[in-house]
Every structure is written in structure tokens, then in C-alpha cells.
């Protein structure tokens, strides 16, 4: 069984359980509060994933180390390359 099939089976199972609870397909008559929590689940998971992504990006931005020396060296190399190309006739 391929990974795709495994994932699709897992997702379909979760979707089936969610649909069962949300629309009471087996007439289990669960308490109202459980249904109230279940039906926004897909949207809730999406929002949580968005928050997690945002937090990860923010964390990595805050903890990324500046490399002063490498920046200066890079700017120097850019200047050298520009001068070199100008001499060889490239218009900038």
C-alpha cells in the first residue's frame, strides 16, 4: 500500500468520524455540547495550524543570528563584481 493510500485512508477515517458526530448519521444522540465542539473541528485545526506556522516564523526571525562579518564581506564582493563588469562594458 502506497503512502498516499495510507494518508487518504487515515484522512477519510477522521472525516467519517467527524461527519458522524456532526450530523448524527448513526442516530447516537450524543449530548449537544459534544456536537457543539465537534462541528467546527476542521476550521479549528486549520486556525491552529496557521497559528503554529506564524509562531514558528516569528520565533525563527527573533532567534536568527546576524552575521556582521559575512554581510560586510558580501557587500565588498558585490562592489568588486559591479566594478569588474562595468569595466567590461556591461551597463548597470
Amino acid at each position: 500500500m502506497t503512502k498516499l493510500l495510507q494518508w487518504l485512508l487515515g484522512v477519510s477515517l477522521l472525516v467519517a468520524v467527524w461527519a458522524l458526530v456532526t450530523w448524527d448519521l448513526l442516530d447516537l444522540s450524543l449530548p449537544d455540547t459534544y456536537r457543539d465542539v465537534a462541528w467546527p473541528m476542521p476550521l479549528y485545526l486549520l486556525v491552529s495550524f496557521g497559528c503554529y506556522s506564524l509562531a514558528t516564523v516569528g520565533y525563527r526571525v527573533a532567534t536568527f543570528n546576524d552575521c556582521e562579518d559575512a554581510a560586510l564581506e558580501l557587500q565588498q564582493q558585490i562592489k568588486e563584481a559591479k566594478d569588474d563588469l562595468k569595466r567590461k562594458g556591461l551597463k548597470m
Binding site: 455540547t33 457543539d36 465542539v37 467546527p40 476550521l43 479549528y44 486549520l46 486556525v47 491552529s48 497559528c51 503554529y52 506564524l54 509562531a55 516564523v57 516569528g58 520565533y59 525563527r60 526571525v61 527573533a62 532567534t63 536568527f64 543570528n65 546576524d66 552575521c67 556582521e68
Partner: protein, 84 residues
């Protein structure tokens, strides 16, 4: 050397914002249904319909911004190149 000034501020504010948003949304969607309807906590939260409408509106706005940004970039590109 750690990340400097503005970078750190922006990064930290992103983390704090997403944590606040996650906590508020979790309480709104998962905790509130189990809380009695006359508890004071309900005063801090909008009616539950908005917990679906607001993310929907935010998604639409996000898509509009991305589309608008792409349109501006494409417009600028088509102006600089001469079209024969």
C-alpha cells in the same frame, strides 16, 4: 551574535500574537460549550457563529491581499518591458 533590535521585536510580537490568538480561539471553540451559559466568561466572547465567520473573512482578505500584490508586481513588470 543574536538577532538585532527590530528583528527581535517583530519576531517576538509574532509569537505573542499567535499565542494569544490560539488561546482565545481554543477557549472560544472548545472550552465555552462546556461552561454554563450564565457564567461571566461568556461576556468576553462573541456569539459562536462568529467563530466560523471571522476566520472565513480573514481568509478572504488574505487571498485578496495576495492577489493584489501579485497584480501589482505583474503590472510593474509589464510596464518596464517593451511589448512588441
Amino acid at each position: 551574535m543574536g538577532a538585532t533590535g527590530v528583528d527581535q521585536a517583530v519576531g517576538t510580537s509574532l509569537v505573542v500574537f499567535s499565542l494569544v490568538l490560539f488561546t482565545y480561539y481554543t477557549v472560544w471553540v472548545i472550552v465555552l460549550p462546556f461552561v454554563d451559559s450564565d457564567h461571566l466568561l461568556h461576556n468576553y466572547f462573541l456569539p459562536r457563529e462568529y467563530s466560523v465567520i471571522l476566520p472565513g473573512v480573514a481568509a478572504v482578505i488574505l487571498l485578496l491581499c495576495i492577489g493584489g500584490f501579485a497584480a501589482v508586481i505583474l503590472w510593474k513588470n509589464s510596464k518596464t518591458k517593451k511589448v512588441i
